[in-house]
């Protein structure tokens, strides 16, 4: 038993130290480019303002769309910003780095290193995108205040759970696309397409007509990015949906691992 504890302790120290070093290196790199940092903050504010303006113009013509008021739709938009901040900060750079290292033939160098490749890719995070998360959180808190919604521990847990599920889901989808991209396609256009699809979640899916709404819940689960977190806080969510998301996530994860192994095998054997 003591051996196991010692092994886990050593494992944590090993990963913790290496990961900490990688994060520090990335932070130094980002802080060096202060212009990009300030530009990123400006960009996030502008992005939020445009979205707010579009929602405002839309709601200037109607009070409620499928029972969603302006403040409720705005809350979903806030969650979209939190989510897309996380994706642009960690998920996208990590996948980008992986694809680039395969194309530049530097992945072999990474494979010889003591940590798994994915740990190195995550270390290429973009700290400046944190500004988007902060603005998203600010919008959510503002809406909570306007709508006079009180937070309960169960709601907060369900919320965190749903955000984690949605980030993992998008990570898996990104990863699978990246794998196919490396295997079959060339060019920088695929990720543009995928980022374009994610932008749909900027507005709650309730603003769309059927059957699009159902598609965004069950087939292309974009609702979990912004609508479901907002529904949780508005106490309108269905637990079965969260369980469904969890199941989808597990399937995606399995495909993810399979496809990554296939790509590595293909890469080494070529």
């Amino acid at each position: 038993m003591a051996d196991w504890i010692k092994k886990i302790y050593e494992w944590l120290i090993f990963y913790g130290t290496n990961f900490n070093t990688l994060l520090k290196v990335s932070a130094t790199r980002i802080l060096f480019d202060r212009l990009s940092l300030s530009l990123s903050l400006f960009m996030s504010i502008l992005d939020a303002l445009w979205t707010l303006a579009v929602l405002h113009i839309v709601y200037a013509h109607i009070d409620k769309i499928n029972n969603w008021r302006f403040e409720e739709a705005l809350m979903a938009t806030g969650f979209f910003f939190v989510f897309s901040g996380i994706v642009e900060m960690i998920v996208h750079p990590s996948i980008n780095f992986l694809v680039r290292s395969v194309r530049d033939d530097t992945i072999l160098y990474l494979l010889t290193k003591p940590l798994p490749v994915l740990v190195y890719t995550v270390a290429y995070y973009k700290m400046e995108k944190l500004s988007k998360c902060i603005i998203g959180l600010f919008i959510v808190i503002l809406c909570l205040d306007v709508l006079k919604i009180k937070l309960y521990p169960t709601g907060v847990i369900a919320l965190i759970f749903s955000i984690v599920i949605s980030v993992l889901m998008v990570y898996s989808i990104f990863f699978i696309i990246a794998n196919f991209y490396v295997l079959a396609l060339e060019g920088d256009k695929v990720e543009e397409l995928f980022l374009g699809i994610i932008r749909i979640a900027r507005f709650p899916v309730q603003l769309f007509p059927e059957p699009l709404r159902s598609i965004f819940y069950f087939i292309l689960p974009l609702a979990f990015i912004s609508t479901v977190p907002a529904e949780i806080l508005l106490n309108r969510f269905d637990l079965r949906l969260i369980l469904y998301a969890l199941a989808v996530n597990l399937i995606l994860l399995a495909i993810n691992i399979k496809s990554f192994n296939a790509i590595l095998k293909n890469y080494i054997n070529r």
């Binding site: 480019d33 212009l35 530009l39 445009w50 256009k189 397409l193 749909i200 769309f208 699009l212």
Partner: protein
């Protein structure tokens, strides 16, 4: 001039060959204009209950299908490529060559967008005819639409070229590109048609450059503008295009000087 045309033809031909070899990625790229459709569905959901400033469900569908076409034709992405070249050792080789660097990039974009124009335009026109969105279409309006798309495309290219030139002072220009695209989407008639905006705001926006590559070609195509409006707005678009060309020349001169002096 004839030498430059020959060079352009060679570059266009080479890039067409490149696209033929990378057709899968290019096909994926051609369908990357989903967001306009998303906004369209939101407007449809509202217009189901009442028309908005005279816009019915059918009007929104026709407008946004036009937007998909025009956005695809006029949107240019060159910053990744230019950024990569400037940060690599190859850039100095381009500078040593006898033609301006812009003539290496522009023909490639012409080749890509030429194909997009040829593939997308008949398809979208057929859809619009089916939806009865082209009742006002005449040979003159088609010629004006093509002219407007060309002006919008050239303007967009040189704006992107200016933004890519910022790389001489900063490490990445992607942030500026994104800010510009947001602004263009909102102020150019992509997110909201000008007629749906408050009247004064719509009147103000026609003086900005963003309308040249989105709202103006679409409104000409679906016959929303009178002759006087078309002439006025085409004049504004041409002015912004010339300004962008002159601005890009000046900025790149300063940037290259900085690059050469380290």
């Amino acid at each position: 001039m004839s030498r430059l045309i020959k060079i352009y033809l060679v570059f266009i031909f080479l890039h067409l060959k490149y696209l033929a070899n990378h057709k899968k990625a290019f096909i994926v790229y051609t369908f990357n204009s989903t967001f306009a459709i998303v906004i369209m569905f939101i407007w449809i959901e509202i217009a189901k209950y009442k028309s908005i400033n005279g816009y019915t469900v059918n009007d929104f569908i026709i407008y946004y299908i036009g937007v998909v076409l025009v956005w695809r034709i006029t949107s240019v992405i060159v910053n990744y490529e230019i950024e990569y070249l400037i940060s690599s050792d190859f850039f100095i080789l381009y500078l040593a060559k006898p033609i301006n660097f812009v003539h290496y990039i522009f023909p490639r974009v012409i080749a890509e967008h030429g194909i997009l124009f040829l593939v997308f335009t008949p398809l979208i026109l057929l859809i619009l005819v089916y939806l009865r969105g082209l009742t006002e279409l005449s040979p003159i309006s088609i010629a004006l639409f093509v002219l407007c798309c060309v002006i919008g495309f050239v303007l967009e290219f040189f704006v992107q070229y200016i933004i890519s030139g910022f790389v001489f002072w900063m490490t990445h220009s992607q942030g500026v590109v994104t800010v510009y695209e947001f602004t263009r989407a909102f102020l150019g008639g992509y997110a909201v048609p000008f007629q749906v905006l408050p009247h004064r705001l719509g009147e103000l926006l026609i003086w900005l450059p963003f309308q040249s590559s989105v709202a103006l070609p679409v409104e000409i195509l679906i016959g929303q503008l009178g002759v006087e409006q078309v002439v006025k707005r085409l004049g504004i678009a041409t002015f912004w295009m010339l300004l962008a060309i002159a601005g890009s020349r000046r900025l790149w001169q300063i940037g290259l000087r900085k690059f050469m002096n380290g």
